[in-house]
């Protein structure tokens, strides 16, 4: 089965632009000689800035930029709004600004839980970090990890694209999902299965078993 280089490059470019990696996308465009499709690079500078601010834990600045871009995103998406505010609380705890963190949780975060009781559970988890001198020792230390900010940044990025009627579903992700789905269907044919998507490693145990039998 042949996969053309052009198609591969398009998929990568699509991913980079939709994720908001403007610089990487620009470099890739230059090297591959490809141009992005209409809509992919919509507000890419703003999305890049907001992503960077979230990843750097500068939540207030990120919210400011986001509200400047489109004030209705956080107004209508209460869950996303809560996650950003929760991340701000986590950053206050990391900076050991305990009093400020408690005040913030009481005055700004807890009222958001009026609309959704599950938010309270999340607030409690974050507040449990305060019980430890070193929050890394808490069983909820995963809240401090970079991956959380990264996925939050991706979520905000998607929300921006959706608010401006742009496609936010990356084709690479879509294709991966389709591959996994087809793979599942192909189980009955004992076809080789990719066991690790990130590395591309596959197993052919069942395939071998069938051939041996």
């Amino acid at each position: 089965i042949k996969v053309s280089k052009t198609d591969m490059n398009k998929l990568i470019l699509n991913y980079l632009y939709l994720e908001g990696y403007k610089d990487a996308a620009k470099h890739f465009e230059k090297e591959s000689g490809m141009a992005c499709e209409a809509g992919e690079n919509y507000a890419v500078s703003e999305r890049k800035e907001i992503r960077e601010l979230i990843q750097k834990d500068m939540i207030d600045a990120a919210i400011d930029k986001l509200n400047d871009l489109c004030p209705e995103i956080l107004e209508k998406n209460l869950s996303l709004n809560f996650k950003l505010q929760k991340q701000k609380l986590i950053s206050l705890i990391k900076l050991k600004k305990t009093e400020e963190a408690i005040e913030f949780a009481q005055n700004k975060l807890a009222p958001l839980a009026e609309t959704n009781k599950s938010f309270l559970v999340d607030i409690e988890k974050v507040m449990s970090l305060l019980a430890f001198d070193n929050p890394q020792e808490s069983k909820n230390s995963d809240l401090l990890e970079y991956s959380l900010r990264h996925s939050l940044a991706s979520e905000v990025n998607e929300a921006i694209l959706q608010a401006f009627c742009q496609t936010y579903e990356k084709k690479l992700l879509l294709l991966t999902k389709m591959m996994l789905f087809s793979q599942k269907k192909a189980l009955s044919f004992h076809a080789p299965q990719i066991s690790d998507v990130s590395t591309g490693k596959y197993t052919y145990e069942q395939y071998m078993r069938r051939n041996l039998s």
Binding site: D60, N67, D68, P71, E75, N81, F164, C165
Partner: protein, 699 residues
Amino acid sequence: LLLQMLKDMEEKKPIEMSETLLLKLKKAKNEIIGNRHMKMHYFTEGLLHECLLSIQTKISIDIQIQSLAIINSFMEDCKEAKGVLIAQKTLFFDIEKIFKDNQHVQRAIDICLRIIRNGLVKEIIRLDDFLQSEMLEYFPKAMNTEVFVLLISDILAFCATTSFNRRKIFEQKEVIINLTKYIEYNLSYDCEYAILNALSKVTTEYDELCKEIMGKPKIFQIFEKYIRHPSEQARICISQLLANVNKFVKFPLSQQHLLRWIIPTLVKTLKNTNIVMKIQAASILSTLLEANKDFQKIAGDLGAIEDICETLKNLCSETKEEKKESKEEENKKGKNNNGRKARDEAMGDIIDAEDPLVFSDHELSPEQKMICYGLNTIEAITSEHDEFRRKLIDQNNHKIIIELLKHPEPKIRSSACLCMVSIGRSDKIVKNALFTDGVASILNRLLYDKYLDVQINATSAICNLTLDFQKQIIDTGDILKRLVELTQTKHITLRYKAVFAIKNLVYVPTNDIKKMVLAKLTYLKLFDLIDDEEPTIQEQAILTLRNILHKRPEAIQEAIDRAGSEAFLKKLDEKLIGLNPSLVTQAIYLLCIIASGNEKQKTFVMDGNIVKKIVALLGHKQNIVKIAAINFLMNILWKENADAANREKRKKVFREFEVEAKLNELIRSSSDLELKAKAQQALTCFNEQDFYFHYSLQQ
């Protein structure tokens, strides 16, 4: 500090800290967005009020944009702010000014469109203010990004709720034409759906727009995509658009399946608990099924009538519960309901009305709309299909419709009457159930309704029910008296329906019934109706007279005597030269009735002018007129009830006009089989010999 800075700005004091002000506004905005608690805090501090004032002052656009964003945020999830916003009468005009003055600033356009959309939906901005403004003129230029197209589509969809509003929108054609252009672009689902939603609301009355849409090459692809969409709302939206377009533009044969496909979607939505969606579905169905037998059958087979009746019963029982509660409350307060009030409550505002009112544009409640559209849909389905009428009666679903004839809302009474018109096309057995459940007396009452449309539709319902049940109709209340009164009304449609109903009353009933009708109607009124200004009423009046005189030679003579022979002939003579072929035909058939009478009556119609005109009408361009003229010839020359000698004289008269040659010509040249057969029969009448006559001649 923020509020003080805003106040300074309003009082036009020099602002040294505009950058700081901007930052503080942004901070406040960031705090209130998505946070009801902070909104309340800032609201009580007066932030909203200051922002409303700041958008009126000519300051930096950045500050205005931030103020608008704050106002927009207060519109969401802040009931307390709503009152303040509504009280600000200039809000829309301030936004309009900012929009117009900053056409080049994308952020300004964005926030203005959002705030207008949200303001209209939440009834903070008055729809009239928007429609009367010049905003629509500016929209085409603003439609340069997908999100702006989406916002503008949402605004238009919200506004296009009444005919008047749609007319105002349509005055700015460019906006609508742009929308039809954009549906062909590869847009996101949200934007595409918003455009289709707007078009589905706006296309209700405009054939030009529907043709424009159908002219787009990709439109059928879009239709296909949405009729199977997982979202029910999307399917309803496209169904509305399809139904609207179908009213004005014939779908190509290869695409007609699209229309059939949406019917199951709509029928399924009738079962939905969401009343807004039910109303949409019922409204679309009633449009789609109108005059389309195929679709009516599909909807009927899918059980649409049963689902609608179930909804109607639930809505009526809810209303009864509410009324019961309010009545109990009134009783507690000791108010005295006299008999008339109780009757009026039961039947709505029905009073004796010589000058009935026309419906106003008053808005119905969602429940009332559902009832109206539901009844219209039942009316459509049962209009051409007897099996569904039977099923309706067998399942006792007619009782709820009869109940709705007494509804306090006149538009519902009117729709229920139209339903009765449809159901009344049934056969006698089915109609009997209606009479058993007291429909006649209720319709009698509705003939006196305060509203013209209700009277008209009630009269139409009586028209259909009357056939086979003349005695029951005459015995019910004062229906006959009222119908006769309505033949004198100034309202043409009502007069027409009344005459129609009376015509049906005298169609093949007993002589007693004919006499009773005549006693009330009188020949004088009937002859006046024959000379009515409206040709359709003249036609019905002639038919009525024809029915009265049918097979009653004594009645024929009475009619001639009452009118006066000359006057009667003159009246008929005038009708024969009319331009309306239908009227001419009926006049000839009236002459046929007279010609089937006794010799005196046959002689009466053999008047020179009449004969000349009848012969001339054998050459009329309409076949129905020719056939009528031939029927006259056959009646006048009919052997069985004619004196042989007079019959021969009549033949001679016709031969002088070369009638036989004309009949032969018709047989030779006409392609109409019925006409040919009639002409042949008439020739046979000419050629038939009377045995006794020839015997006497020979003698």
